[in-house]
Symmetry: C2
Subunit: 364 residues, 2 copies
Amino acid sequence: MKHPTLIQTPTQTQFLSVQDVAALVSHAGIAATLTRLADYILDDYRRWQDFDKCARVASHSPDGVIELMPIADAQTYAFKYVNGHPKNTRLGLPTVMAFGVLADVATGIPLLLSELTLSTALRTAAMSGVAARALARPNSKTMALIGNGAQAEFQALAFHYLLGIEEIRLFDSDALATRKLMRNLQHTGLRLIACSSIAQAVRGADIVTTVTADKSNATILSADLIEPGMHINGVGGDCPGKTELHPDVLRAASVFVQYEPQTRIEGDLQQMPADFAVTELWRVLRAEAPGRSSAAQITLFDSVGFALEDYSALRYLRDVAFELGLGQKLSLLPELANPKDLFSLIRPDASARANAEPALAWAA
Amino acid sequence: MKHPTLIQTPTQTQFLSVQDVAALVSHAGIAATLTRLADYILDDYRRWQDFDKCARVASHSPDGVIELMPIADAQTYAFKYVNGHPKNTRLGLPTVMAFGVLADVATGIPLLLSELTLSTALRTAAMSGVAARALARPNSKTMALIGNGAQAEFQALAFHYLLGIEEIRLFDSDALATRKLMRNLQHTGLRLIACSSIAQAVRGADIVTTVTADKSNATILSADLIEPGMHINGVGGDCPGKTELHPDVLRAASVFVQYEPQTRIEGDLQQMPADFAVTELWRVLRAEAPGRSSAAQITLFDSVGFALEDYSALRYLRDVAFELGLGQKLSLLPELANPKDLFSLIRPDASARANAEPALAWAA
């Protein structure tokens, strides 16, 4: 049926707070949340060509960056607002905070406004899991986790639930971060081993995840640490001037990326020449390009965080919040009896009848 | 005083709904709102060089466009989400709907989330008033207003209160729109005259405002209608493929724009060669370039809507909402005792104590 003329279309926006998203995760459980989120991401990556993609729009300042990340298919538009401020922890604030909106392409109505700080950690971990299922050796059991900050627990659990990782070898230059992680994950069934060096953590691991926070070109992994057959999940090298891997690590590996134009600028790939070969992950997920081709091959997922994962996360949140009846309505848009009569919102005679203050409303 | 370590910085975002902004306008009165808003815009345009500017990021679809408009100075970042869907009126929805955010550059915290549909109409009208005060003949008394849709009342009142316009000559191809406008403005002291053609409305007017909505290259004004000394306030030609003025009108006038790179793409200026001379308005407002230089000169403000006006509007809304105690707090960001412990938001033992449902939270 076509829309009849002047039927009122609802213009309220569903709002999910941090508490709503936390409740949503608690209700489903972390395992089910990461698993379903991975399914949403996989579905969207498999229809890669449906999306109007662009690199994110960044506003840089001395202390950090604020970015907008838009993406759309023919039905649904999404964007995320996200900051990156390494010094925020000194103020008791997270380094990365985010929120996002899902909107209707046909009308422009913002359907959902949601927190995305917690959700970004969940979707980043689910994305890493999706990539590793395609690229790591089957029956991987051990992961090194370098960087035990805000995102580390999410990575650990995604690899536990999505790949069956049983043992995680931890390293962080801040021992308190490692202790926090071990406390947070003590009842998960994961075997957690605190290591005294990166080399000790990496030795013998099937998968190596790097998720450090320094906004600088660091060498978290050098080529001598890398063993045949490893899958490297490089998460922390994600903006210009912020890398974690020595260039020789990239040279030793088959490198997979989300969206090549963005990763060339933001990923560990920024260190490599423009003709250094990479494979966009969606091609592997659609079986149009090979993933891992031998047990000895070294694979690297150079993750930078792409708008499509946020689109998937917002879609997931919308669906589950609807199922659970979570969230509240926000009056972000006007409801107008006549859409050409925007002025009716502030027409003094209307408000005068309500307020009995017409003089005030019209004083010049 | 420097921020001490780990003092909790407030992370709640102030939210202003459509109703809040309407209440804010009703409280101050429309005249005072437009006047103060014009002052905010003027202040920001006079410090043009302080801003990190870029053209808006547009996502086009067959029925419309969704845009993000970011801008920042050293202290404050702002962006607006805005759509343009000409067919929306058939669904009872406004053609243009918007919301926006003001954020702290130092930490990335979104301080204010506000409706901007109503506010965009107010700021567009105030911007037109700021330009016309610099460009129209002093003692202008009569304005033609072509296009009597959602934005028309705001334009009429801005010129009444900011420039002393006393008579407005109205034309719209939809006579109901004109009737709506006359009803809305019947107690304002403005002399309102409905005209049967564009030519009749324009003849003898000091100022001509065009604010039509069709997403097409239309000729609302042709050169034969333009008289010496007129100021043209061209508001409706504001995106690629959407123009209102015949190229000869631009050739006959001195053309002023907000941000030249954006207006070349979006304004009526899109019809002219790349070397067609224009003046950025901020230079006139800083007295670094001439505005009107003679009584016979024809001036044209080719308005497209630039992110800086939204920055000004959000700044104004924040200040007045604070004065009046309007709005509510939104939990868009997490409050964390330890900023590296994002996982604490969904740690099952924590939620288990609250919910007594640990099994549910950990089911694989």
